[in-house]
């Protein structure tokens, strides 16, 4: 190895930081939200991202070719779809014509081939599985360091990750027992700071600047979910206005391993290492095969978009303009679509609306008898409000609930602690006969969960602020006139047991918690007469007989819990009772529809029990299948079967002066929806790299994530059981098609102002369409702020310039 080119330390820090930003964050499982696994690659298109992820993680970014081949053979993907997708691919890399594209689709593309790391080379040379051992050792340390309370004796975490790891690694004898002699000494002699350690390793490994980007990215990817958790720490710190070095510390740790293995095996592996370095230094260009994959993916999406367009164009029932019998606001979540359709089918005067399930209230909430602040808001935002459940008048019951919880905790510690665990087993083990019986037969009621007292904003904002919040929310959901007597604000959550990924079934807009707190806060806010008076002066007339009622839609059972006790309204008892009946019936209809998709659910009644079954790995399909986002008045989609695959956001551009609401929708809910959609996409096409693994082997670690099996890498993303039913995929990997009913120019202006959002559309991570006033797809966004008429036949002769500099 020759002497490396000198890289200034500022430069090195910038490169390390760049690599860190290639990695998506992962939230802890207690409050997890979907994250776009390609978050670091949104600046490039699918084929280029494919080239990058193949190099650093051997990850595919599309389904295997036979998946598309089947669809082409079945006629689902037409020649027009293929031609249109082909036309947008880079001229120099795409097949010569449609025929050669179809020929390429018949052959499987070569498996993605990652550049070997030093650990890979050393494993091959020495016959010892260093890759596995590094994962095991790193996971052992990180699990302790990030533990949120599983181990009674937690690992010290009073310093940064790098220093904490060194303290552990200088003591840990495992690597040396496995044959890496002197490793503890090597760690002990390593520089004091992570950056200096990176610097030293770079020199030792002979890296030039050109090699570092993908090599560092690769090392972070080799840590699986752990580096994503480090990225999460950085995300949270930056949101709060500070910074965090965990992920670059992890890079330093991984490099120290590389360095040690290189020192040990240099004679055998240095040739291989030179080759690997050259591959890292090569510019990142998609191979023709990767381009074909991306074309096929886009063709499959165009095929789906034809289907969506056909659904939207279908004749729709006339919506009368008289006062609705019931208005119900739901989350935009695709699961709401099924329920809303069922509910509306019960009575022509039932109107439903869609809005992000935090209902515009970005609250940091403390639950009843709890010290923990839960961020019940989209993770892109900072909290703007504070709330808690149980005010001063409930101090006594708060106190006794805490004592109960603390006694339960003391009992839990008695159960686990050394020595006392023996007394525990001897004295109470047989009690578990009853627990085993009850859990096996699912005898536990799941109802007792939503009996918390009403939450309240604390401190209560002044009237002007409250009024402003109420106005913003109502305008954002385009609900400013024609209020019904009863307006139900329905958040959603999912009641499931024994499921580490339960928070993934909750409301993503509420930060992975169920949505009842936000719904209850909003209903209270809107029932406030003083707020209503203020709204009147701002042009929103809420009739005196309108009552707002909070509810919670349980997506596992499709039951709706109402919270009439929050604002007792005897005048509306009959309306509430009627609504309750409608919700019951709508729930039954929804379950019947869901039963068709769920395995082992031959009848609707079986569906509602799934969440309570402790052995059930598929209590519901959550957002599997999501593929469209529609921002338009509900009238455009009502009565149309969108199969629980569309996010529905109510939006009426004629009421949106200045397009402020449109800007909000495109930059917040659409982005969140794309994170969800791409999480499903990534977990489906690359389950090894971006999926959460096999639920049968999940081993919850630190209360924050799961191992698949004994240990090693944290597994982020959706478990295989969440996207596959054992026989076929439950989620078809399609990037989201966003349909907005708004003037083209307004959308273009917003994209021009938000380059990060625009990149998502320009690089094909999202598709964008406009709808006309009849709800028909009218124009397709082509990138670079250009639009095309959606009904025009694709012109395969025209060579479109490749949109992105590679």
């Amino acid at each position: 190895m020759s002497v490396s080119q000198s890289v200034t330390s500022a430069n090195l820090a910038a490169i390390a930081d760049r690599a860190a930003r290639q990695v998506p964050p992962v939230w802890p499982l207690a409050s997890s939200v979907a994250v776009n696994p390609f978050l670091g690659q949104t600046g490039e298109d699918l084929a280029t991202a494919g080239a990058r992820l193949a190099r650093v993680a051997a990850s595919p970014v599309t389904m295997p070719r036979h998946w598309f081949q089947t669809k082409i053979a079945a006629g689902d993907i037409t020649d027009d779809d293929l031609a249109a997708a082909w036309a947008r691919a880079p001229l120099s890399l795409r097949p010569a014509n449609l025929a050669s594209l179809k020929a390429a689709a018949m052959m499987e593309s070569p498996a993605p081939d990652a550049v070997p790391t030093v650990a890979d080379l050393a494993s091959a040379a020495s016959g010892t599985d260093w890759v596995g051992l590094i994962a095991d050792r790193f996971g052992g340390w990180a699990a302790g360091y990030f533990d949120e309370g599983q181990a009674l004796w937690a690992a010290p975490r009073d310093r940064g990750a790098y220093a904490a790891w060194r303290a552990v690694a200088t003591h840990d004898l495992t690597p040396e027992i496995a044959g890496l002699s002197g490793f503890s000494r090597h760690v002990s002699d390593a520089p004091e700071t992570a950056l200096a350690a990176i610097d030293r390793a770079v020199a030792r490994l002979g890296l030039t600047e050109a090699m570092m980007d993908t090599y560092f990215h690769q090392l972070l990817m080799s840590l699986g979910g752990w580096s994503q958790y480090g990225r999460y720490k950085l995300w949270q710190a930056e949101l709060a206005g500070s910074t965090d070095a965990t992920i670059t510390d992890m890079l330093a740790i991984r490099l120290i391993w590389e360095e040690a293995l290189f020192d040990h095996h240099a004679p055998q592996i240095s040739d291989g290492w030179v080759k690997a370095c050259l591959r890292h230094a090569a510019p990142l260009v998609a191979t023709p095969d990767q381009v074909v994959n991306a074309i096929l993916q886009e063709a499959s999406e165009r095929a789906a978009q034809r289907g969506l367009a056909a659904t939207l164009i279908a004749a729709r029932p006339d919506i009368s303009q008289t006062r609705p019998a019931l208005q119900a606001v739901f989350c935009i979540d695709v699961r709401s679509e099924v329920f809303r359709r069922a509910l509306e089918s019960l009575h022509p005067q039932i109107q439903t609306l869609g809005f992000a399930g935090f209902f515009g209230l970005t609250t940091a909430h403390r639950r009843f008898a709890s010290d923990v602040t839960e961020l019940r808001l989209p993770v892109l935002l900072n909290p703007g409000l504070h709330s808690h459940t149980g005010g001063a008048d409930m101090a006594l019951s708060d106190q006794s609930a805490r004592v109960l919880a603390r006694a339960k905790r003391a009992w839990g510690r008695f159960k686990l602690a050394a020595v006392s665990s023996f007394a525990f087993v001897e004295a109470t083990g047989p009690v578990y006969v009853g627990k085993l019986f009850a859990d096996t037969l699912g005898l536990h009621g799941a109802a007792a969960r939503h009996d918390d007292p009403a939450p309240a904003l604390d401190p209560t904002p002044n009237l002007a602020t409250r009024t402003k919040v109420a106005e913003t929310v109502l305008r954002a959901m385009s609900l400013t006139r024609n209020f019904a007597r009863l307006v139900v604000i329905a958040g959603h959550g999912s009641t499931v047991v024994n499921n580490p990924h339960a928070s993934g079934l909750q409301c993503g807009a509420c930060g992975g918690y169920s949505g009842e707190v936000n719904a209850r806060l909003l209903a209270q806010l809107l029932n406030d007469r003083a707020v209503q008076d203020g709204l009147r002066s701002r042009g929103i007339e809420i009739p005196g007989d309108t009552h707002f009622l909070a509810g919670l839609h349980d997506t596992a059972t499709d039951g709706v819990t109402l919270f009439p006790q929050d604002d007792p309204a005897t005048s509306h008892a009959a309306d509430i009772e009627q609504a309750r009946q409608w919700f019951l019936t709508a729930g039954a209809l929804t379950r019947a529809e869901r039963a068709l998709r769920l395995p082992r659910a031959s009848h609707a009644a079986g569906v509602s029990r799934r969440g309570r079954d402790w052995a059930e790995t598929r209590p519901e399909w959550a957002l599997a299948g999501c593929s469209a986002f529609i921002a338009a008045p509900r009238a455009r989609t009502s009565g149309k079967d969108l199969a629980g695959r569309a996010f529905l956001h109510d939006y009426d551009w004629t009421q949106d002066a200045g397009f402020g609401v449109l800007e909000l929708i495109l930059t917040a809910p659409v982005v969140v929806a794309s994170w969800i959609n791409l999480q499903y996409y990534g977990s489906t096409v690359s389950p090894q790299v971006f999926g959460g693994g096999n639920k049968l082997l999940h081993n919850v670690v630190g209360g924050i994530g799961v191992f698949e099996g004994n240990g090693g890498l944290l597994r982020a993303g959706l478990p295989w059981q969440s996207v596959h039913d054992g026989e076929r995929l439950a989620h078809e990997p399609l990037r989201l098609s966003v349909c907005v009913e708004a003037p083209q120019q307004a959308i273009t202006d917003i994209l021009a102002r938000h380059p990060a959002v625009r990149a998502l559309f320009d690089n094909g991570w999202l598709y964008l369409f406009t709808l006309d006033g009849a709800g028909t797809m009218s124009a397709r966004y082509e990138g670079d702020l250009e639009w095309s008429d959606v009904r025009a036949a694709p012109d395969t002769q025209m060579d479109m310039p490749y949109r992105i500099a590679v």
Binding site: A417, W614, H698, G726
Partner: protein
Amino acid sequence: MIFQFLPLLGPAPLLVAAVFGFAAAGPRPRFALAVAEASAVLSMLLALAAAAGLIAGQGLTAAEISSALTGRLDSVSVVMMLLVTFIGWVVVRYSATYLDGEARQGPFTGWLCLTLAAVLFLVTAGNLVQLMLAWIATSLFLHRLLLFYPERVAAQRAARKKFITARMGDIALGVAAFLLILAYGTVDIGAILQDARLGNGGWPAIAAAGCLALAAILKSAQFPTHGWLTEVMEAPTPVSALLHAGVINAGGFLLIRFADVMLLAPGVLAVLVMLGGFTALFGSLVMLTQPAVKTSLAWSTVAQMGFMTLQCGLALFPLALLHIVAHSLYKAHSFLASGGAVDRVAASQRPGPVAIPNARAVGRAFVAALVIYLPVGLLFGLMDKSPQAIALGAMLIFGVAYMLAQGFADAAPRALTRRTAVYALATSIGYFALQTAATWLTRDVLPLTPAPGPLEWALMVLALLSFGLVAIVQAMFPLWAYHPAAAGFRVHLSNGFYANAVFDRMVGGWSARRAS
């Protein structure tokens, strides 16, 4: 008469279910799963019938019923049958839902049923040959479950270690059986026990006791052969629960079954006390450091198996049987419910920080535990108990003191103090009541604990001192555990003092060539 056949009939439905399981190809073998659960229920009913027969008397004492048909019906085998069939049913039913969609769910169910059937044959064995075959079959069938995902490198690593350990255990049991035949001239377990209770057997019996102890140690993952057990998370969760249906605790069962033989060899029992006691403390300390829920549960199993071995070493066989039952139920449930760990960790943080007791509070807690222990103990006839049982009762004091200490901390509200005191009282009553019941239930089957000699006294004092020390250390835990001086110790402890790493090195556990 029919009751004599029940021990043999018990496994039969499961064997039938296994056939259906293996025959079912592809995902969602509904019929095979239905047959499996029905068989599990039927086995459970047969076990209940056996229990009823035993209770009804039928004039069946342990010695009389060991029929020529190799089935053995006594309170030990019936208790084990009930335990195994109950957990078996739970696991079979759980797996039917949990593995839904798995391409090889049929064979999984088949191996599951076969393993359960083998365990039933083991616990009801009336002769050495049946015992031996069932013992070996159990571990071979389990091996297939551990390798349910044969491509998983870590699964191969764990299964390989388990395989080596199990074969060594088989050899030990084989030699033990040979020596027992040599000593007593029969394969009939009832006859052997009867003879042994009279003090017969000579040196072959003592050597046999040593081999039985070795087999038990290897089967029940005693230090340093515990490595595989903390790695079985490579198999689906129900397999971890299944281990507690008489698989991992078969070592304890073996010692209980041959209690009369074991009593002939006080030296062997002394070894069991020391090794079991060490494993118990070692496992429970390592467990404290484990951040992954199933791994932590597995370390807890190591510790509990150590405690079971300790009880056998102290000749407290009825208590060891009670421990097997109590621990199996608890741990099977804990594994199956381990998916709730995220919720549990989050919930534990909500009520605010844990009140940390100081030395004074810990002292008061130990005194209070003793104050609770004495009257409750006297109520249950403490004075009639053997010194060994009384010594073991001290473990209860230590444990209860830990709970009380949390309530006695200065920062703890009064209501919490009261509540922990109630828990402590309830625990003490439960402890003595269950012990009394276990002793009564096995009074005709298991030998009385002999009066301790100097060696036994020394061992008891050693055990009390070491458990007491750990208990005090544990109660004062937060005061010292985060001291920098403890950091290095924590690293070594969390790695189980590298016993497993050495085992891996010896058997090439990290070999890349085998993996690829």
